[in-house]
Structure formats: structure tokens, C-alpha cells
């Protein structure tokens, strides 16, 4: 094999390889660049940012924006607590239910597995749409301004269950369950004692998907949590800040107030850093699972 490589290194191959290095380096850089600019701008003075624009390295280094965010009764600490609580509970409960259902649906001795699968799969094809969902949540379940409105709808997804099902089917042989059940274990006990611990890689991947969903959640928060809620999830806080800052700026523009004195732009960037930081920090740790997860779970149900 090594010999072959040496002999058959043709011109077109070398060109493609060089093009590959260049093209992919360019794309990788363009993916990274916005993050670098975001961090740099959060340490910039407001004046420089507004008048001179964005830089890769802060022209005048300051932590003023972070001080503004963190001083006093800071909203962001509450947001962190809410987001972390939502992410942890949501991922915990969601992952357990997803794994349990995925396990049951791949058991060949479960005769109604196709019926249940169809019941789940149908929801990915047809939905009532936003209006009935909104009315159900607010008018009938009375979840307006309740964190449950953010927690519950994102708990389970049919895709995750299908992925989990494929994982278990391909990685844990059915004889494991059979052996356990000959020894008198019920399917539930088999799942808890054997299958759950055995599917750690799958749990890590799908858990990551669910956790990421909760951390980045802003849509249901925006729909169901209004200003009477004291602590907003981080992404909603960021969303409000982006839009509220615009609003503030507009309303101040006509009043002869020095807009530059309010660090609006840098505060946005600093909040973005704080809201995204944990993900980017955790990223190297979970990246392995994430990539293997995309690879193994694949698409078909």
C-alpha cells in the first residue's frame, strides 16, 4: 500500500491535495474568525468599537463591559442559574426517556413496536402548527411565564429516539436482554441494570444534542416568558439585549445624549461571550462524541 502511494502520486492528485489544504484552511478560518472578533470586541472600549469598528486585537483593552454586566443585582447570574437548571433537568429526564423508548422499540419480541414507531414518526411529518401549540400551552395548560413551557416541549424528539434505537440495535446484541430475562429480570430492570450502562457512547452523544438544544434555546423562551419573569434563559437575555440596545440607542439618538457613554455594543459582545463561553469551553471535551454521534446514528429509521 505504501509503495503504491509513492508510485501513483500523479499531478492531478497533488493539485487536489494542495487545493484541499488551501480551501479547507480558508473555510476553517472563516468559521473561527467571528468568535475571535467577538472576544476581542468585548474587551474593546465602546468609543473605539463604535467609531473605528471591529478589530482582531482590542485597540484599547478594557474590562468595562464585563464590569457593567456583573455589577449590582446582576441579571446574568440569575440567567446562568436558570439556564443551567433547565439544561441539567431537561437533559437528565429527556435522555432517560429517550433511551428507554429507543431500547424498547428495537426489541424484536415487542410485537407492537412498529405501531409505536409509526405513532412517533408521524409527528415528524405532520403538525398542528404554531397557533394550536401556542394556544395549548397558554390557554389550556396555563404555562405562560412558567419555566415548564421551556423545559417540557424540548424533552423528547422523535429523531433522537430513532437514533438511540439504531445505536442500541447495532451495538448491543439481543442475547444480552434474553440472558438477563431468563435469569428472571423484567425488561425494565434489564434496561436499568444492563442496557443503560452499556450504551454510554450513545448516551453521551444524544445527551450532548439535548443539552445543546437547551443551552441554545430561545424560541420557546421568547414565546412563553415575558418581562414579568425575573430571570430569562441566557439566549433570551442576549436576544433582548441585542434588540433592547437597538431600541435604547434609537430613543437616545434624538435627545442629545452622548450615546458613546453607554457601552451598548461592547456589552452585547461581552454577554455573547458569557452566554457562549461554556459551550466553547466544553467543546474539546465532547467533540469526540459529537462527531462519532453524527457518524453512527445516521439518518434512516
Amino acid at each position: 500500500m505504501k509503495k503504491n502511494k509513492k508510485i501513483k502520486e500523479d499531478l492531478s492528485g497533488r493539485m487536489i491535495r494542495i487545493a484541499g489544504y488551501l480551501f479547507i484552511s480558508f473555510l476553517a478560518l472563516s468559521c473561527l474568525l467571528p468568535f475571535l472578533i467577538m472576544v476581542a470586541s468585548s474587551f474593546e472600549t465602546e468609543k473605539v468599537l463604535v467609531l473605528e469598528g471591529y478589530h482582531l486585537i482590542p485597540q484599547k483593552f478594557t474590562t468595562y463591559a464585563y464590569e457593567v454586566i456583573l455589577q449590582g443585582n446582576s441579571e446574568i447570574v440569575g440567567s446562568y442559574v436558570v439556564t443551567i437548571l433547565l439544561t441539567v433537568t431537561g437533559t437528565g429526564i429527556g435522555l432517560f426517556i429517550t433511551a428507554m423508548t429507543g431500547y424498547v422499540l428495537q426489541r424484536p419480541d415487542f410485537q407492537r413496536r412498529n405501531k409505536v414507531s409509526l405513532f412517533l414518526f408521524f409527528t415528524t411529518l405532520f403538525s398542528g402548527g404554531l397557533v394550536p401549540f401556542y394556544l395549548l400551552m397558554t390557554r389550556y395548560l396555563h404555562l405562560k411565564n412558567n419555566y415548564l413551557a421551556v423545559l417540557l416541549p424540548a424533552l423528547i424528539s422523535a429523531w433522537n429516539i430513532i437514533m438511540m434505537k439504531n445505536f442500541i440495535r447495532t451495538s448491543i446484541p439481543h442475547s444480552v436482554s434474553e440472558a438477563a430475562e431468563i435469569d428472571g429480570a423484567s425488561p425494565f430492570v434489564t434496561f436499568i441494570r444492563l442496557i443503560f450502562p452499556m450504551s454510554k457512547p450513545a448516551l453521551a452523544t444524544i445527551g450532548l444534542f439535548i443539552a445543546l438544544g437547551y443551552w441554545n434555546e430561545w424560541y420557546n423562551s421568547m414565546l412563553f416568558l415575558d418581562s414579568s419573569v425575573e430571570f430569562r434563559p441566557l439566549q433570551l437575555l442576549l436576544y433582548n439585549l441585542i434588540n433592547r440596545a437597538e431600541y435604547l440607542k434609537n430613543s437616545l439618538a434624538g435627545k442629545n445624549i452622548q450615546v458613546q457613554d453607554l457601552p451598548l455594543e461592547t456589552v452585547k459582545m461581552a454577554t455573547a461571550v458569557l452566554a457562549t463561553g461554556p459551550i466553547v469551553m466544553a467543546y474539546p471535551l465532547v467533540q469526540k462524541y459529537f462527531i462519532s454521534g453524527i457518524t453512527v446514528g445516521s439518518v434512516k429509521g
Partner: protein, 324 residues
Amino acid sequence: MESRDGAVPIGKKKEKKRSFRKWKTSMKKDMPFLIMCIPTIIFFLIFAYLPMPGIYVAFTNFNYNGGIFGSPFVGLDNLKFITLSGKLGGLIRNTVLYNLAFLVTSHVIQITIAILLNEVRNKKFRKLSQSFLILPNFISYVLVGLFGFAIFNSTNGILNAVLERFGNEGVQVYSNPGVWPFILVFVNLWKGAGYGSIVYFAALMGMDREMLEAAQVDGASTIQRIRYITLPSLKPTMIILILLSIGGILRGNFDLFYNMVGSSNVILHNSTDVLETYIFRAMTNNFQFSTAAAVSFVQSIFGFILVLTTNTIVKKVEPDYALF
């Protein structure tokens, strides 16, 4: 009913009894499994199935106090209104065109990245570039919107700074509807290319090594190898991914459009409004629940028909690729 009806022939009765007993024993066997499914079943009943009849709002003149079934029925008036006002046509056109553009561009670039990554032999470079490429997939669209504003705004935006550096005039991106299709396609690529390329790259990893070696021994050039072995081996993955997307071609990516464009930038709506954003605005800004539901109704029904049709056709042509 059966028990009261004395005229039922005895044989049939027995058969009924037997099939009932069969059902009972199979039910007994399935019971532990069904119990384990209960949380999932309840979840989907409440959050997916319970809202479905609520689509009825599309045929009422909805008021919040009356609720879904207490509001006056108006028949097809809402559907007539959205169709005749021309709104619906434009929204469907935008949604479909955007999705088609997303579909084509993203698969082309994802496959290109996967193939180039496969040719690049330096493992460290592969790993590092993959982790950078997938980074945008990890962040929320709220942040994507903030990045967009940092790049495109006309006061201190990066784009204008670069243009002016090279002696060009700055542009007013947020009041120029014509450039938005390109921007949105670009941002969609940026956010999703890394993720998609890993799916394709995984398919390449599972490729037949022997065939590649045989081709090399026979003196195939790299281009020939890519053209006749690598690309065809990606076909099944590509077909399944595209089929999945075709079913969702009427579903706009709300997060992308809403965060990039903003909810109140009316100048851009002509070229950037998709079904999802319209439905959302109609409901939350203007409280036109009935109009929103009518648009939603059309979207759901046509989307559903589309999935079924594609699947039926695929099943006839190439049964292996059918989704269900």
C-alpha cells in the same frame, strides 16, 4: 354488541373469542414494553397530537376568550383572504426557493469538503479543521444574528470597513432587499457545512478500500478515482439526506431568518419573509390567530402531501431509499 346479538353463527363467535384470546396473550407479552413507552406516548399525545385538531382555528374568526372551539366558524374565509391578497403565494415562493438554494449549495459544499478532507492525508490537519468547521453548529442563532449585525451594519460594520479600505463606497445592507438571498444562503452554509461534511466524511470512511487500491494499481488518476469511486459511494447518503429535506421544503428555518433579518425590518420582508416568520409575526405582533393558523394549515397539508408523494415515487423507483 356481539353478546346481545343471538343471530351470530357459533363458528364466527368462536373465532372472535379465539382472536380475542390471541390479542390478550400478545398484549400480556407486550405489556412491560408498552409501560416503558408510556412517558413518550403521553409526551407526544400532549405536545404533538393534542394541538392537531386546533388547526380548526384556520376556519374560525378566532378570539382568545372564546378559545379554539368557542370562536365563530367562518369557513374558508381566512384561506380566501390569504390567497387573494397574494400573501400566500409570495411566502410559499420564498420558502421553497430558499430551501432549494440551501439544499443545493449546502450539499455541494459539504461533499466538496468531505472529498478534500479525504484527500488531505495529514491527520492533525483533518482533526483541527473539522473542529473549527463544526464550531458554528454549536452556537445559537441569536449569536449568529449578532455576528450578522457586526458584519453588515452600515455604521461600524466589518464589511463596510473592508470595502472602504479598498476605496469602495460603503453599502446599506439592511435596506437593500436584493442582497439578502445571498447573505442568507451564505450564513446557512456557514452554520451547517461542518456538520454535514462530517456525515459525508463518515460515509467515505466506510468506503471499499480494496476497490480504491485496485484502481490505483490499474493506474487510475486521482480525478478518475474521485469521479468513479468516491462520488458514487456518497450517492446513498446524499439521496437519503435530500429526500429528508424535500419533505421539509415548505418549512422555513425560523431561527435563521428571524435573527438575521429582525422582526421589524419591513423593507426586507419581500425578499426574506418565509412562511414561519409570517406566521410568527401574524400571531405575536398582530394577534391575527386565524390568519396565522390559515397559513399554517396550508403549510402542514401541502408539506404532508409532499412527503407522501416523494416517498411513493421513491418506493417505486428505488425501494431501498424509501423513508417508510
